[in-house]
């Protein structure tokens, strides 16, 4: 068994690198082989189901066309002027070595981004009442999709929104609303509470691919609805890993970061010790 402390330092460094890569990846051309971070041990004995309505199991999103990272939504989106300016500002800051504090970077639920282009494998659990999409190896994100005709009237807005689903033949149609306006589209743009996401998910006959077509409507950031097509490939059993974003709020992670939203400013910061001195976490009163 690998030592957890060494492993976690490696993982956090890797994730910081991924955040940085996100800014340049939108411009990147497809590199073939995709992007792999997790190296979890396999679990033997898992087989894909050919039942077209059984999505349970483990899946990994293939990258978007024109990118080598799965979590890039797309290279060229019909942004509103405000969203375009925001994305360009974020890229300019990144080019200068300054990162904007986004909900994703500051350990909040990732919502739309991970529902479309999950960075890590997606564990899907399913029963007659709901289907649950779980990302936990690089980001922790859980999306509960209830088989229902209507959203509840008393929706409490959330980062991940509220999702319902129905079957259209063997296509699962998922409808998500109820966002709190803090979820991220990508590392540059935060979408609004008006975001409406519709997904049509269909399984290939051999049970090895989920075709995921996502339509995003949010007049605050898009001039027209955006449709993104992805493929999620079946992965044989893989041991779940654990990612704990809040675990090491290291001082250097936040240095030089721009906090435009007060709620994102960290309360607790881990100060690195020197020599024999242990590192310590210190929290301020909110």
């Amino acid at each position: 068994m690998m030592d957890s402390r060494a492993f976690l330092i490696l993982r956090h460094s890797a994730c910081a690198l991924v955040s940085a890569l996100a800014f340049v990846a939108a411009e990147a051309e497809a590199q073939g082989g995709g992007f792999e971070m997790s190296a979890a041990p396999p679990i033997p004995g898992y087989e894909p189901s050919t039942d077209p309505r059984d999505f349970s199991g483990l899946w990994r999103s293939r990258p978007a066309r024109g990118s080598f990272l799965p979590f890039i939504i797309a290279g060229d989106l019909p942004f509103t002027e405000a969203a375009k300016a925001r994305a360009e500002y974020a890229r300019r800051m990144a080019a200068q070595g300054t990162q904007l504090a986004t909900p994703h970077v500051m350990c909040r639920p990732t919502g739309v981004n991970q529902a479309i282009g999950p960075i890590a494998p997606v564990y899907v659990l399913q029963n007659s009442e709901k289907i649950v999409f779980i990302v936990m190896d690089e980001i922790r994100d859980i999306r509960q999709v209830y088989f229902a005709d209507e959203h509840p009237e008393d929706l409490e807005p959330s980062y991940g929104g509220h999702s319902i689903a129905r079957w259209d033949g063997n296509t699962l149609v998922v409808d998500t609303i109820g966002y709190n306006g803090r979820g991220v589209l990508n590392n540059e743009v935060v979408h609004s509470a008006a975001m409406h996401m519709t997904q049509r998910i269909m399984k290939s006959a051999d049970g090895l691919t989920l075709h995921v077509e996502t339509t995003l409507e949010d007049p605050a950031i898009f001039t027209e609805p955006v449709t993104v097509a992805r493929e999620w490939a079946w992965v044989n059993g893989q041991q779940p890993l654990e990612f704990d974003c809040e675990e090491n709020p290291r001082e250097d992670n936040f240095s030089g970061m721009i906090f435009e939203e007060e709620y994102l400013r960290p309360i607790c910061i881990q100060h690195e010790g020197e020599g024999e001195e242990l590192s310590t976490v210190v929290c301020e009163k909110p």
Partner: protein, 230 residues
């Protein structure tokens, strides 16, 4: 190595004494949202005693209690919303959901949206590295109970709010049993020779939360509002 659970067989037989009262409940009857029946800030053995800590662990446990009494909670990762791990999430006063699937059993904890996946493939998984929730393998038993063995639990977490310590060598063995349709019991056994002088056991009861749905809990947003982290 196949997960034959031979080591645990005796434990299962011991626990089977409290089987459901004649009611046949399916595996799917475990599905639902559960909340601990009685607040449990400090774990105790089945006899109500403090767990059998070794001297060094006793000193650490007492130090944790002293520090909390003085308002110093930095020994507790919950202070900055890091994963509090197991068994603490199972005894926190926050609901969790169980979802039975053929390949995995999901535990969805409301607290900060933690997810525990218990592998049901029959292969006993070895931890890749220690984590707050560890690496869990499960198997259904003939009496309808669910046996879960968890290893690779990182020593940085504490086992309860009182600050009960453990080492990376902790092995947690749970037997989940439905007492009736609305009552879940988890019998827990803890083996950790670096912390305890002998294995010990405890039992926790949960009540089904009818009509409840888990909220999207964001610990960092909560502490920003001046609310307690857990």
């Amino acid at each position: 190595m196949r997960f034959r659970l031979s080591l645990l067989h005796g434990l299962v037989l011991t626990c089977a004494a409290g089987a459901t009262n004649g009611e046949e409940l399916s595996r799917e009857a475990f599905n639902g949202i559960w909340l601990i029946a009685e607040e449990t800030p400090a774990l105790r053995t089945l006899d109500g005693e403090v767990p059998p800590l070794l001297p060094e662990a006793t000193a650490l446990y007492e130090e944790h209690q002293r520090r909390r009494a003085n308002g110093d909670t930095y020994f507790d990762r919950a202070t900055w919303c890091a994963g509090v791990g197991l068994p603490r999430l199972l005894i926190a006063n926050h609901p969790f959901e169980i979802m039975v699937d053929k390949r995995q059993i999901g535990f969805f904890f409301e607290w900060n949206r933690w997810v525990r996946l218990v592998d049901m493939s029959g292969t006993k998984l070895e931890p890749y590295y220690p984590t707050s929730l560890g690496t869990a393998s499960g198997a259904w038993q003939d009496d309808g109970s669910l046996l879960i063995e968890t290893t690779g639990l990182m020593k940085e977490t504490i086992m309860d709010h009182a600050g009960l310590p453990h080492s990376d060598d902790l092995v947690m063995t749970e037997t989940l049993r439905l007492i009736d349709a609305d009552t879940l019991e988890i019998h827990m056994r803890f083996d950790d020779p670096l912390t305890f002088s002998a294995p010990w056991e405890t039992k926790v009861v949960y009540k089904r939360q009818h009509g409840a749905r888990l909220k999207e809990d964001v610990c960092l947003d909560r502490i920003k509002q001046g609310l307690p982290p857990i």
